[in-house]
């Protein structure tokens, strides 16, 4: 499973203080960039990836050999146009694609961290991204964009470093993880930890990975990314191989086969411990518990917000975005918001959604004009 990742990497040889009170003595950031940074360094867009995403937001992913996860949106001539913008996308802290995470070597023991890796938060991930931006000597980002957990990071950016960004674009996201979302994550984590190969996180040396558990976690999560009507439309009750029921426990239905495929292909590219750590980071996320609540969190007056939500997204439903909007209205923040009609569920932010793509394009064009880029 462990493959060498060809991304650019920066090693930060200074301690990182984590929200948990713990600290990392040093850490590595793996990232990709697309397009060219202009002379005044005003055209940089940071893209934050979701739970199981990575730094390969566009182009070919060297591990999966597939297109990057946001290739529909990012690239030359696309909505986030790499002919105009310098796009930065880094693997999150705790990840398994080159940035320090539980599968990285602990410099103290010369062995993979496993569960010795400190518990991290979305805030910690953003601190690390900020370090990267500093290293790249970019003073102000044109925008921070992200969907799902990437949207959480974008909001965290707005809260922590609002003065360092012109615009923040959280998509299919929320200011906190709901009880239902935590519940689904916990089932996923329990599935991993119940796999006998998990061995309390010490599976790296023997290279026998808790694949079954991680695959089940992925299958559960994948259902939450879709919608009932999309599942019905795509699969219905269609049978996979024959015209008849097997009257057994082999794969009968197409949906079963699809989910199994999702699970199996996922374990080839993702680390089970990373899944535990990152899901937990999402669960801890709640900007409303910071001092003064949501109204006090976003204090940067010049910052523009542009939110997108999707009608059939039941993981991050529109009302979550509206709660943030409500707080932003009360402080007269510069906010934009659009709810996109779709039956594709939470995953719509990754898929072909013409209304979403064109509206995001309009916002970016507006920003280009306002900022005279």
């Amino acid at each position: 499973m462990r493959k060498k990742i060809s991304s650019e990497k920066i090693l930060i040889k200074e301690p990182l203080r984590l929200d948990s009170g713990d600290r990392l003595e040093e850490y590595q950031i793996a990232f990709e960039t697309f397009g060219k940074l202009n002379k005044n360094k005003t055209n940089a867009i940071l893209i934050c990836h979701a739970l199981t995403g990575d730094q390969f937001c566009t182009g070919k992913n060297p591990i999966t050999k597939k297109n990057g996860w946001w290739h529909l949106l990012v690239g030359p001539g696309k909505v986030i146009d790499t002919n105009i913008f310098f796009v930065i996308c880094s693997n999150v802290l705790g990840g398994c694609m080159g940035t320090t995470g539980p599968s990285s070597i602990n410099p103290k023991t010369n062995k993979p961290f496993g569960l010795k890796f400190p518990v991290i938060t979305i805030g910690d991930m953003v601190k690390v991204q900020n370090k990267l931006i500093e290293k790249l000597e970019i003073k102000k980002l044109f925008a921070v964009v992200g969907g799902s957990m990437g949207g959480m990071q974008a909001l965290e950016w707005a809260a922590q470093y609002g003065n360092k960004i012109n615009a923040v674009i959280p998509i299919a996201a929320s200011y906190r993880h709901s009880a239902q979302n935590i519940a689904f994550h916990e089932i996923g984590r329990q599935a991993i930890m119940a796999d006998p190969n998990w061995k309390k996180g010490n599976y790296y040396e023997k290279k026998i990975f808790p694949k079954r558990g991680l695959a089940v976690a992925r299958m559960i999560a994948h259902i939450t990314y879709l919608s009932e009507s999309a599942l019905q439309r795509k699969f219905g009750r269609n049978l996979q191989n024959s015209k008849f029921f097997s009257f057994g426990f082999d794969t009968d239905f197409q949906i079963e086969s699809y989910l199994k495929h999702q699970g199996i292909s996922f374990v080839e590219r993702f680390d089970a411990n990373s899944y535990l750590y990152i899901t937990k980071a999402m669960d801890y996320f709640d900007l409303s518990i910071k001092k003064g609540g949501l109204k006090k969190v976003f204090s940067e007056k010049k910052l523009r917000f542009c939110f997108f939500s999707f009608t059939s997204d039941w993981l991050f439903p529109t009302f979550e975005t509206k709660t943030i909007l409500s707080a932003l209205k009360s402080i007269n923040a510069k906010s934009c918001f659009l709810e996109i009609n779709t039956d594709k569920g939470h995953d719509a932010f990754l898929l072909e959604e013409p209304d979403f793509h064109s509206s995001l394009k309009q916002f970016i064009l507006g920003q280009i004009k306002e900022n005279k880029l």
């Binding site: 523009r304 009360s330 007269n332 934009c336 918001f337 209304d355 509206s359 064009l365």
Partner: protein, 200 residues
């Protein structure tokens, strides 16, 4: 740039002073607030229900959120804007009463424009044809019209009196969008109305 504004919007824009804070409820393509923010350095926000409207506003660099005036005004704080505008929309509201109360709560004043159902041609149409009146600003059939709460000058005036809403000023416009200075027979001669109202 001025010619992109409808006549009633142009009239409304003349009522806004420099450096005001304006919320346009049902801002459509954002032409009015774009004009205000560029020409009068007014700080503008907008709410619009349609995707195409919001999208056009985004391209203009405007701060506009998708929302429904019937439901999405509640969470604006009191007096957070100097002026709140509702142009040609009140007649399509499900809860005009609640909407107007919100407008004058959020804004120090509200500017509300609407077609006058007391206009003589409207009355004539109904009297002679016996069918629901139609004209340039009321172009719909009875079965597909979004305009479910039409009212006349007198209706609106009575409403303000009943709700103790202060009518600071009003303008009556003819079919060409010009202001009629004659304050007699307002209800009969006015095609479109612009009311400036505020809370007592």
């Amino acid at each position: 740039m001025t010619n992109i504004l409808r006549n009633d919007l142009l009239k409304i824009s003349n009522l806004i002073k420099d450096n005001e804070k304006v919320l346009d409820v049902g801002c459509g393509d954002g032409n009015l607030i774009y004009y205000l923010s560029k020409k009068k350095s007014v700080e503008c926000r907008g709410i619009e229900i349609t995707l195409n409207g919001v999208s056009s506003c985004l391209k203009k660099g405007l701060n506009v959120i998708q929302g429904d005036a019937n439901y999405d005004l509640e969470d604006y704080p009191d007096k957070s804007f100097s002026t709140v505008i509702l142009s040609q929309t009140i007649q399509a509201m499900i809860y005009p009463e609640r909407v107007i109360e919100n407008l004058i709560r959020i804004g120090k004043r509200a500017i509300i424009s609407f077609p006058n159902f007391g206009y003589w041609k409207v009355r004539k149409d109904f009297l002679f044809s016996g069918r629901m009146p139609k004209n340039k600003i009321l172009p719909y059939e009875w079965y597909n019209t979004p305009n479910i709460h039409l009212c006349s000058y007198k209706d609106f005036y009575d409403f303000c009196k009943l709700k103790k809403i202060v009518v600071e000023n009003f303008f009556s416009l003819n079919e060409d969008g010009d202001v009629i200075s004659n304050k007699l027979l307002v209800n009969l001669l006015t095609y479109q109305l612009i009311f400036c109202v505020s809370k007592k």
